[in-house]
């Protein structure tokens, strides 16, 4: 929780352990699969929406380019 507070307040970021990273990524994968069951739109439309979000995230990450 202290680490999360440090990140939210932009104080510092400590790279989590492999175990934590793996847990978070596995959770993201489960949520992704779970969303398929909840989604009511067609695969074409929902994947397009997700790809647009991913595109914006990739663009924003360009802020860290040299």
């Amino acid at each position: 929780l202290r680490d999360a507070a440090d990140v939210i307040t932009l104080r510092r970021y400590t790279v989590p352990s492999v175990h934590r990273r793996a847990t978070v990524v596995a959770l993201a994968a489960v949520c992704g699969c779970g969303l398929v069951l909840l989604s009511r739109s067609t695969a074409e439309v929902s994947s397009f929406v997700l790809l647009v979000i991913a595109a914006i995230v990739a663009g924003l990450s360009g802020l860290w380019s040299p």
Partner: protein
């Protein structure tokens, strides 16, 4: 790019001119990224698969690639990251007018493929455009990448563009959070990848 584009805009303001370079950068980013979407989706039109099979191919392959790169961005596995590594030349801002410099930087970085690829999420976009071959959706999706590239610069430029000390402090702070951005992209990639892959089986 913050450290290059914002001082150009600041210089324009010092000379009493409107900061056209940032607007030109925004236009260049969207046009460059959209052009890549157009090119790749047109190439995708050559793939001889149509209809539902094509959609499943796009979902399956993009899903697997997204999960792999997600694990890579989370530093859990190593996946090759092909990239050109070219950098937009710094001499452009001495040679050209600020507006043209902004436009050229925008196009160069908006295309994305020629320069260093910061996060793996980018790989997903041209791959998806190629496999779906849908021109309109591809141009729109990659244009959103361009929007994502210029939006923070416009916001920071408006808020702190004239305060050099604040800008330097911000750049330093941003650098500290680079690993978080990569990890965050890893989480998003895995989420999107799992979703895309799972849709094939439902």
């Amino acid at each position: 790019m913050v450290g290059t584009m914002l001082p150009i805009g600041y210089g324009e303001r010092l000379q009493g001119r409107a900061r056209r370079s940032l607007e030109a950068y925004a236009i260049g980013s969207v046009v460059g990224a959209g052009s890549l979407g157009l090119l790749v989706s047109e190439l995708g039109g050559l793939i001889p698969v149509e209809g539902q099979d094509r959609l499943e191919l796009a979902l399956g392959v993009t899903g697997i690639v997204a999960v792999l790169y997600g694990l890579s961005d989370a530093s859990l596995v190593r996946v090759p990251r092909p990239q050109a590594g070219w950098q937009v030349p710094t001499r452009w801002y001495r040679r050209f007018r600020p507006e043209l410099t902004g436009l050229l930087y925008g196009v160069g970085l908006g295309v994305g493929l020629a320069t260093r690829i910061q996060v793996s999420t980018f790989y997903l976009l041209p791959l998806w455009c190629l496999l779906t071959g849908n021109v309109a959706w591809s141009v729109f999706t990659l244009s959103m990448f361009g929007v994502g590239r210029f939006l923070p610069l416009l916001i920071i430029g408006t808020e702190r563009g004239g305060d050099v000390q604040a800008l330097e402090s911000l750049i330093g702070k941003l650098e500290e959070f680079k690993p978080l951005v990569t990890f965050g992209n890893g989480i998003i990639l895995t989420f999107v990848g799992a979703y895309l892959f799972a849709t094939v089986w439902t």
